[in-house]
């Protein structure tokens, strides 16, 4: 008997969003109200059993609720006799997410590769001018690279949990793969903190430049100019594409951070069902953010001449600035800061 209840997971996901939202505000009262599992109403034994009917494990499974009883050992969690949602979790994690995540991440790699082969790098049309403008301060670059190196570490060690068994295990053999995975797990747990600090500082530092402005619509209509040579829609410090990356990091990264902390302290914030839900959310949004960041890495390195300098030295070529961030370049030259 297999239970597929994607709908039910969606419902839970929505509930979890509410929980995440409340958590973000920092209300600890809400924690106690995290999704209540295994309510008494669906306990089949609450119905008169008459002792002589076949107790309905099947009913219980249909209701997708667990069976709660009592134990005489200290571990009260052991009082849950059967938790059928574990099977939904398994199908979600080892089935749906594993499959869709692979399409998403490897699909994104294929997409940028194809794009590079067809379009090549976006060159500075007029060539480098030789003069530079300061684009990012030392602090901005430090924070970017702290977050970036943390994210890459987290992404690789996270992907190892989902795909290592299929990709690395056959290469390394069980012992070496296990040793690596145990190390990767520890790394993942602790590198999470520089990542969280990074996105908080990033939020404070850059949020002002990332609200929609009047240049965005035109930028979208022209596809950011990356599809056609010589087309450069105007933009301020951050264009619409960069804003998408910024908000993805803030929103998806925020969900990943909150769910990740709840996974680090498995039963502090709720029951087993909460932990299961957090693992699902963590995986989904981590895979989405990984795909977004692959695109971001591409355009910041291979995809565009001159873009790398912005985060490497902090100084960009004046002509690059005029082509890709004309409004910001004009303001910067006029002595403005942004």
């Amino acid at each position: 008997m297999t239970l597929t209840s994607t709908g039910s997971w969606l419902g839970r996901a929505l509930r979890a969003f509410a929980v995440v939202g409340i958590l973000a505000i920092g209300s600890s009262v809400a924690l106690a109200q995290a999704p209540a599992p295994l309510s008494g109403d669906n306990n089949p034994t609450a119905r008169p059993m008459a002792g002589h009917t076949n107790p309905s494990e099947a009913d219980m499974l249909r209701a997708l609720q667990g069976v709660q009883g009592q134990v005489t050992i200290p571990d009260r969690k052991a009082g849950t006799l059967v938790q059928p949602q574990g099977r939904t979790w398994r199908e979600t994690m080892a089935g749906t997410i594993r499959a869709w995540g692979a399409w998403l991440v490897f699909g994104m790699i294929a997409l940028v590769t194809l794009f590079y082969l067809m379009r090549g790098s976006v060159m500075i049309d007029g060539g480098r001018s030789g003069r530079t403008i300061t684009r990012f301060t030392e602090f901005e670059r430090f924070n970017h690279w702290m977050t970036a190196s943390a994210f890459i570490t987290l992404a690789l060690t996270g992907l190892n949990v989902t795909y290592g068994r299929y990709l690395l295990l056959p290469l390394l053999g069980p012992e070496a793969f296990s040793t690596w995975s145990a190390f990767a797990k520890l790394l993942h747990n602790f590198v999470a903190f520089p990542f969280i600090l990074g996105i908080v500082l990033m939020c404070v530092n850059w949020i002002a430049y990332n609200f929609p402005n009047r240049y965005d619509w035109n930028w979208i209509m022209q596809g950011g100019g990356i599809f056609t040579k010589g087309v450069h829609p105007p933009a301020k410090k951050f264009n619409f594409g960069q804003k998408v990356v910024f908000w993805s990091v803030m929103i998806f990264g925020g969900i990943i951070a909150v769910s990740g902390i709840m996974l680090l302290f498995p039963f502090w914030f709720g029951t087993l069902e909460t932990v299961q839900l957090m693992a699902v959310l963590h995986s989904i949004f981590a895979l989405i953010l990984t795909a977004v960041i692959i695109g971001h890495i591409y355009i910041g390195t291979l995809g565009m001449e001159g873009a790398w300098d912005a985060m490497y030295t902090g100084e960009v070529d004046e002509r690059w600035a005029k082509e890709h961030h004309s409004v910001w370049a004009a303001e910067a030259k006029a002595g403005g800061d942004d």
Partner: protein, 198 residues
Amino acid sequence: MARMKFLLDAERCIECNACVTACKNEHEVPWGINRRRVVTLNDGKPGERSISMACMHCTDAPCMAVCPVDCFYKTADGVVLHSKDLCIGCGYCFYACPFGAPQYPQAGNFGSRGKMDKCTFCNGGPEADNTPAEYAKYGRNRIAEGKLPLCAEMCATKALLGGDGDVIAGIYRERTATRGYGSGAWGWSTAYGQPPRS
């Protein structure tokens, strides 16, 4: 070849917890870890039932499917075992297991659960049969000695049956035919996919 299964007849379980104690003693299971437990439903109310629960050695085991390091394996008898050398203590098997069978020596914050421990159907682990190394990690390997799991073997009311699935399902069928009603065989359809009498 037998296909090993557990069957619990809730009509007979008297919550004596002898299966729990026998298991802990036989395998010298550390404090805080319970490979088997007795759960009482509706304690003190009409329709009270007790069910002894451990790893059911599922046909399509969720733990095996979700393990990131693939440390589980199934013996020719259908027993689900795992390697503590490979386990990284991530907790995924506990999240996926319908029966709450996987146990960990520590609380688990910052991924510090330690190596997972669970019922082995008294069948040890990947080490050579009944070596000190196997005993230290997984407990006694009674199956290798030609014996069945101790919990079921010493169950005073024979509520808990452990052994070849066809044989124990036959015993249960005979019982229910004689007394005229079943007791659910809790966990059976979740673990093995079909009711014990068909």
